[in-house]
Amino acid sequence: MNDKLYKAILFIAAMVMPIVCGGVVYALVTDAHSAFEHFGFLRFLTSSEWSYTEGAEQYGALPFITGTLMTTALALVFCIPFSLPVALFVGEYFKGTKVASVLGTVTDLLAGIPSIIYGLWGFYTLRPLIMALGISSQGSGILTASVVLAIMIVPYAASLSAEFIKMVPNDLKEGAYSLGATRAEVIRKVVYPVAGSGIFSSYVLAIGRALGETMTVTMLIGNTNNIPESITSTGNSMASIIANQFGEASDLRFSSLIAIGLVLFLITAIINMIGKMMIKRARIS
């Protein structure tokens, strides 16, 4: 095989990527078009009506955008108190030891569990618990979905943060110790500030994952098409409304669901792009 042919083959393989991505965007945009045209782009995003009575069809994405943002934000809140200690455990306190690698394996396995199984666990274990605690009567809802979502994103946030915590130069840590600091003080005043942008970016990427998580949320959020009033009420996320209704949808509803898909795609793409850019910058410095 000569070099020219070789280069051509590699180039063709690489072309698959732009074709696939272009296809994704093209499919979403063309099929979302009629929904945007019918309701208007802004009105589609800000309307909270979702009714498919024939003749008076009305679709708006606001309840689902709200549901997605609420579950994601709440999942992040629940995730931080666990992922930060895990990152410190693996990247600082027990760096390079057996226990750290055991914990690393545990988080890797957590990351590997399929989301439908998380959903089952949430439905059969967590939901009854939330009902028993009297937090909400039906058990499903934003809160339930967020708790399981948090467990799902802990591994991502933790392993990426640990990477940045590990990279804090020993010179700096020893410098701080030599001034009389305790380990806790070194972590708070040297490790966190230095690894800060990297840790932050790992949470941005964790958010990117939480935004589009489908099955878990579908199984736990309660599937109601209204704007959730509180964290214990039921709702739907952008991903879960698609999972719930796409199979039976046609025409305008079909287009509206694709439009929601397009919005979700754009939001996750932007969040992931920001996250990746920040990570790149954090790695360089």
């Binding site: 590699l10 063709i12 992922s83 396995l109 399929p114 666990w121 972590i187 990427l205 991903a239």
Partner: protein, 288 residues
């Protein structure tokens, strides 16, 4: 006075260590809880027939429940469907991904590479449900029906970025001397890639493929609108087909079949975890 302060600081230091250990240990709880629940509720369903028989109809299941018998049947239709779709997806995604990864590793500075690299990140971060609806628009609509082909296209799109990334990363950490030595011997670049670099990178790429499989094998959302599901064993690739995660979803929604959830979940969970551990083990072994 200063002594008191020191004591206080050391206490804070210790408290922080214990908090870190406590919360780190707590993250293991969900893993154990999930494993425990699935294991305890699912282990007695696993039998030979569970893997060889297809899903029972809701009616048969209902009769069995009324009679107090265990639900007959198994998940063979799902296992076969998963294997067919995963196999078709992998056959295309692995070579394409490796070649594309090789392209990125060979031309790291080119603008086009940076675009491809960015798109790989984009696709990897795209929610799987979106892959599902896009594949529906691409394949299911023109073919006028759900099919194994559509399901495997969705899985292909999900696997591709994972294979590309692992290939690129493995090739990039190979010593450049390896490539230069090959080129110095007068081989052309294709032969060096095929005979020197790719074999040297085999371990990393193989691990990446294993992880990619373990990642997509449990995917449910992209299959709901592509493969749809099917209650009997089928090998046709242009017809709806089942998959293990799809079966779990069906069982979850059908009160008569709910008992089967746990056996199917146990099978899927063990498969994924073993795949993960194997990949991790191999990665460690090959890194030495």
């Amino acid at each position: 006075m200063t002594h008191l302060k020191t004591k206080h600081r050391l206490a804070t230091d210790k408290a922080m260590l214990w908090m870190v250990c406590l919360f780190a240990a707590l993250t293991a709880v969900p893993l154990l809880a999930i494993l425990g629940e699935v294991l305890l509720r699912g282990y007695d369903q696993l039998s030979w027939s569970f893997f060889t028989e297809p899903t029972p109809t809701a009616y048969r299941a209902m009769k069995a429940i009324e009679a107090g018998d265990p639900i007959p049947g198994g998940i063979a239709n799902g296992i076969i469907g998963t294997m067919i779709m995963l196999g078709m997806a992998a056959i295309v995604a692995v070579p394409t991904g490796i070649l594309c990864g090789a392209f990125l590793a060979e031309n790291p500075k080119r603008r086009f590479s940076q675009t491809v690299s960015y798109l790989t990140d984009l696709l990897q971060g795209t929610p799987s449900v979106i892959i599902g609806i896009v594949t529906y628009v691409w394949i299911v609509v023109p073919m006028r029906g759900y099919s194994a082909i559509a399901g495997s296209v969705a899985l292909f799109i999900m696997m591709l970025p994972l294979v590309i990334r692992s290939t690129e990363e493995t090739l990039k950490i190979l010593p450049t001397s390896l490539k230069e030595a090959g080129l110095a011997l007068g081989s052309n670049r294709a032969r060096v890639m095929l005979k020197v670099q790719l074999p040297a990178a085999f371990g990393g790429i193989f691990t990446g493929v294993l992880l990619a499989i373990s990642r997509v094998i449990g995917e449910t959302a992209p299959l709901m609108f592509t493969a749809l599901g099917c209650s009997f064993i089928r090998f046709a690739i242009d017809k709806p087909i089942s998959a293990v995660p799809l079966l779990i979803w069906e069982f979850f929604n059908d009160p008569n079949l709910q008992e089967l959830i746990w056996g199917a979940s146990l099978f899927l969970l063990l498969f994924v975890l073993i795949l993960n551990l194997t990949a991790k083990y191999l990665a460690k072994k090959w890194n030495q």
